[in-house]
Symmetry: D3
Subunit: 318 residues, 6 copies
């Protein structure tokens, strides 16, 4: 039996080395990236037994993804598909004022055709936790339907459902996202949402606490997690609000910070951590992630605990 099943798309991420420009690049760094597989890796590395559920092309590109997850010990329950493509995305890191530019090339990827019937739904039913994000239902009508099925099925089986809003403006407009997501929320136990998305997508107002309380009032979540970028995060659980700051980091690659956060939170919470302990654990995991190239939180429990103990690495240990 697995502790955590995550469901979504994983892509090949292509990025020019050394802050160079996509428009003249001769080499690209390749990473494996996807919100739900990122969460599976972070949680698995931090102690959960995690499985990633998805669909991939039956090619060396699909194997690139499977191999990466295997490196981190994540089990994969993947349908192989001869007819659809591997999703990819390009990211160019420009620093200020260029910013970070993302070009998605994920349309018609294999996972967009994943139907409930072809997936190993027993895994979801048998797991303690099921996680997906707002990216998945945005990718295709099929995936919207499958996402709804899996959330419902998990809920029915007593599996705790975790949903990260994770709004992507390049995938759908806010109003459509809001309507779709709110239809899924009744099947969600743990909701994670960026403060900005709560305002701009879910169309709510107030400070972070009000946003959490409002969502909870409307949908009755077990936990609502609100992430606030550099200002930290907040959890509403059992009517209590817990706040958590960020741990300072020398940013190397900030993509995947939120996935590391929820991965860390779930790992600690599943291991009987209290909500504040789990929040802190998530925040420490997130800060470590920011130092690691790629979307994936290549971190260890010892490192997370060291951040919690000291706040930051104290020079060189030798």
């Amino acid at each position: 039996m697995t502790d955590l099943v995550t469901f979504g798309e994983s892509m090949l991420r292509f990025s020019p080395p050394d802050q160079d420009r996509l428009e003249r690049v001769d080499q690209l760094d390749v990473h494996v990236a996807g919100a739900e597989s990122n969460v599976a890796v972070a949680a698995n590395r931090l102690g959960l037994d995690a499985t990633w559920l998805s669909k991939l092309p039956d090619s060396s590109l699909g194997r690139r993804v499977i191999g990466e997850l295997g490196t981190h010990g994540v089990d994969v329950a993947v349908v192989r598909d001869d007819d659809h493509r591997m999703g990819t995305y390009y990211v160019e890191f420009g620093g200020r004022p260029r910013g970070t530019d993302v070009i998605y090339d994920r349309a018609d990827s294999a996972v967009t055709t994943a139907e409930t019937a072809e997936l190993d739904t027993d895994l979801v039913a048998d797991a303690d936790l099921f996680h997906t994000t707002g990216i998945t239902p945005a990718l295709s009508d099929t995936l919207l339907s499958t996402t709804a099925d899996l959330l419902e099925l998990a809920r029915d089986a007593g599996t705790t459902t975790v949903f990260d809003v994770n709004y992507r403006s390049k995938l759908w407009p806010p109003a459509e996202a809001c309507e779709t997501l709110e239809a899924l929320f009744p099947h969600v136990d743990v909701l994670m949402v960026a403060e900005r998305d709560a305002r701009d997508v879910l169309d709510r107002a107030g400070d972070a606490e009000s946003l959490a309380r409002g969502l909870d009032a409307d949908f009755g979540f077990e936990v609502v997690l609100v992430t606030r970028g550099g200002e930290g995060s907040l959890a509403l659980a059992d009517g209590d609000v817990h706040e958590q700051g960020v741990f300072e980091a020398d940013d190397h690659d900030t993509v995947g910070t939120g996935d590391a956060f929820i991965g860390g939170f779930l790992a600690r919470h599943h291991d009987d951590g209290s909500v504040p302990e789990s929040l802190a654990y998530g925040a420490a995991t997130a800060s470590l992630k920011r130092t690691v190239p790629g979307d994936i939180a290549v971190v260890t429990p010892e490192e997370v605990e060291s951040v919690l103990a000291e706040g930051e690495g104290s020079g060189i240990s030798r």
Copy 2:
């Protein structure tokens, strides 16, 4: 006025360095690749004034292609498109017995939507030569129609039309290719075809000369070029057959050899070279190409002439 207009798709080509495997690669070499842009580059570098006609996404990826062609002095007449993707392909060089593995990811690329009306057809009408390949009509129904329009339009304007069969089994089955291509042949002046494709796709029999004579008999070409891999090439023109061997090369990257060949042939032929002279020029260009990383023939007229004079580079010149 331009000497040569070529029309087709150009892609980003991704290949693992150092004979490594796609399924575990952390870096990819990036090249710009496309049969018709390859021909434009080779011909332009060897003296023609060439323009590449196409459609590209309006993104840094599209600019990567335009920049590459600009490096080689090729003019681009490109429609920019916000809604479609950049075609890509992956190639893994394995040597014997692994072979070379190609994964196309070109479906729904911008160029597949290129309609005649949006292209600068005056360029085609004003050119001396118009070149495209059997890849272009295979990419979409729209492109098949556009290809037919451009060939017809070129013919009507007195522009010599050059067509390279260039069969790709990953794009369409032989029978469909044969039917489609034979419908285009009446508008073609110079036909280039691999001996193998003449047999397996165009469904003809006999030795290389018979193949050429048979095609000529059926469609009445000005020139028929038959390429025969390591065994050289053959041209049928004005009823005469000319044969040409290959120049030995230390192969570094053999993709694009045929494009270099036709680019060299056209450059010399346009410059009043006889058919045998042009064949030799094409063969020398092709052999140089095989030493250069990427699909593009980064060669100079001096180098081609040196191959023709000596057969091969005679050690170090210092």
Copy 3:
């Protein structure tokens, strides 16, 4: 007809990767660099039709420069020369307190022999703008004479002349530079000068505005641009002074900042931008340049406008 012609030297720039030291380097990054070609690229990318006028060795090294400019769409009008060398320079980026070390190796380069008679002067006469810098006349007596000829010729033809003082202490002493440059100023319409050079080379005193007004009083420029490093820039035009701050940037490679600034300024000014608008446009271009490896401002109009709109890239767009 071209909008802008620039005239000067372009070099190969060699720099050790990753802050390493020239004295032990096993690999060098190669960029194409030269104040006037940098300006041509920046202006061309931002909307002008630019041509670079120069002289280069007839070798693969000369082609490296031509290819780079072609990548960015700049036309080249270059005399090829079999007898002289390619100019190069080495730059080592050390950070504080090592600083940035430059070793020029440009003596006797092909361009130092460029005489007026061998250049395509019609291009200059037909252009709207002609740009060169104080580096060019410092390179050889021949180039001093040619520079003077071209400025005069441009003025006579009604082409607006733009001159960036760009003092290089490794090329000549301040007094010689001052005397030479002041003899050219009567043919200059738009003068750009660093505040420091106005003091140390042109031997003037006062604050930036006084420097601009003093130069204007003596030579009667259309516009005087004074750049002030981290403190921004200032333009004097029609008796009015306009000031402009800098946009914050995460510096990756600051070489070429001034060239990006004037390239951006000219692009906007030629497109009917007011002096303050053009100053801001130049400053935004310059800040983007600082994030890009190499001397060349690989930027787009959209990026410049985004900086003007927001001041800086607001995180990740996805």
Copy 4:
């Protein structure tokens, strides 16, 4: 239940890129290498369910090995150890006449302390196949004893034991190896030995067949496999001798060829392949391995079958 358990050491392999020399290298390529883990990877990729049994330091270096095996889907049953080091080796590829130079730095590695009692011996007892090599008992007295225990235990449990002589002159002298190995042979079902080692280490004479028959006569193996380098291989089973040639390969990295061979042989043989079929399958796997950087056979069943069908990759498939 697992099909195959292999037991031995895995090391980090450091090699200079691009045929450079260790004595001046500034970068090293890192691979994971070890005869028994190589076999586990090859077999697992080709269809067996394989587990690698070993002991590793509890460090990021140990995780490097575990992650690599996870990439290829191999399960690891590894004791973690805080007190011993990670074994490494350096290899410099020189080509002729420099040859390939190996420097082992594996003394006192964690695995040298692996005692039977701390290992998960149930895995061995429950497996169909158990594999180790003559390297393992050469590494320490502890390992010799553990190897003997595991072979005996496997035999008693009905697990087929596979032993590759794999003599390493840098680890022990031939006479000591011979005495030690012959004491293990009574517990071995499938013996693999290089013709050269059969002569120089096991001190036998005659042609390959005689060597096989002699060994069989003395120890009563189920199968004796004799590898003969470029001359192919031979199997003696049930009194019959089967010979197999090699498939031509463009060698990129020949380390690990023997491990790929036995991994391929076992995968096919376990899947009810006859001895000749399994020999051919092993030979095809080995030839593919030679094209792949590193010690590990990153190959697929489809590729092996393609080699068997065609002998070699037939150009580019596109």
Copy 5:
């Protein structure tokens, strides 16, 4: 005759490029590293005639070290050994909060067997300065004995002895270090110690000045240097205390900062610099080191003097 002899271990240092993680690295940067050889290089580059005394394996790995020192002009007096290994260490640079992780793999290296009798002790006796650190006696009992011999021998010969406490917690516990080092101090003329080590290892209290005065009172040193990280350093000589701040640096690689400091101090002091001048020279050398990849201070006297004159590199010199 040599000015300075240093005695200790030099290792190969392996570090992942670009802040990546050891546990998934495919390439490692290689540097040569060792406190005493670092000091020899810094001092030699800054004007002393330095020799490094040690023992190395007789292999390409040993030659890697000798070649590196030769690059910087340091003489080596090294015993070659066929039987022991090359010491190595791994360092992963994580930034905050990951910190910098060091894994030593130096046990049983050749130098740990270095006995006084096999070393060229005349070099020590004839030198002006002899330098070693607290690392050397921690590596083996043999090295403790040899270190004691060399310090005594140097003192008897009138060679000034320099000892840097350089405590490494991964090598020995504080109490053992304290007892061992205090037994060596009577033979030491110049003592260097980090303020933290004076407290935690030498078990002393008070501010930096008190620590220096206390050590001087107990052992009667010529000079006591106390380094205080970002707060600078302090020297006690002839009863006077001199303080020195740090020069700001853009840190690229901070390993080896202390060795650069003492190397710079000794170079200036030997050249008749006063203690305050030498302190400043050491601090400038240390700040430059922090900008250079690797452990070694690849700096020049001109650069050190420029830091002393200006505090930091003033932009680009061109």
Copy 6:
């Protein structure tokens, strides 16, 4: 006292990695190269005590050369010069039929101004051997005069003079070379000449032996070495002719083969090797060189002896 002094120019060599083209390269590999320093390195590595005499710019580029020679243990006796440049050359390896393209950029390098009076001529007088090549007098009139002085001075002091004709067509025409070199030959004891140069430059006829005998008859050398590319080499000494074949090599970089040959020859001959032994030693050194990137023979005496013993490396030693 030194065994061997060599005199000539050393350059930085820039080459595109991976067979790429100079005209589009973004990175260049850097090596140190020069016939006479190559010989010093080869000879020093093989047992001679060698010193390189030259003049270099006083810059980080000059230090790059000095550091490289120090890596190999060669002493340098170099005049530093603030006013002249570092010589460089570019080499592009194309394979057949592209060949290897060399672009020299060595005019006006510091060494071209080296006058006898500024060099440490005592080193030459005290050495056993003095070596230079026909490149040195071709570089400038000053160097021609200095070369003549040094040869004469060496002869007068009893130092054996070694001269390698080493004709470079890019430096001077054959007739000028012939006249100049023949004027130097009376001061030469050991002459080395390529068979091709003996014909085309020294304008002689006949087979290799006749060429040697003819040169000896005219100038009375102690030894005449004639190199014949792939056909081996020949020595005429004391009236006897000795022939030597080549050892097969997997060519990686063939530049510097001749320098490795003479370096090996001199090392063995100085160590009392007979002429045939020394020829074989030179040939083995040359074959090893061809496997090493760069111009320099990074080889060991053990490797040379292994080639002599076996002809080639026999697989992997492990």
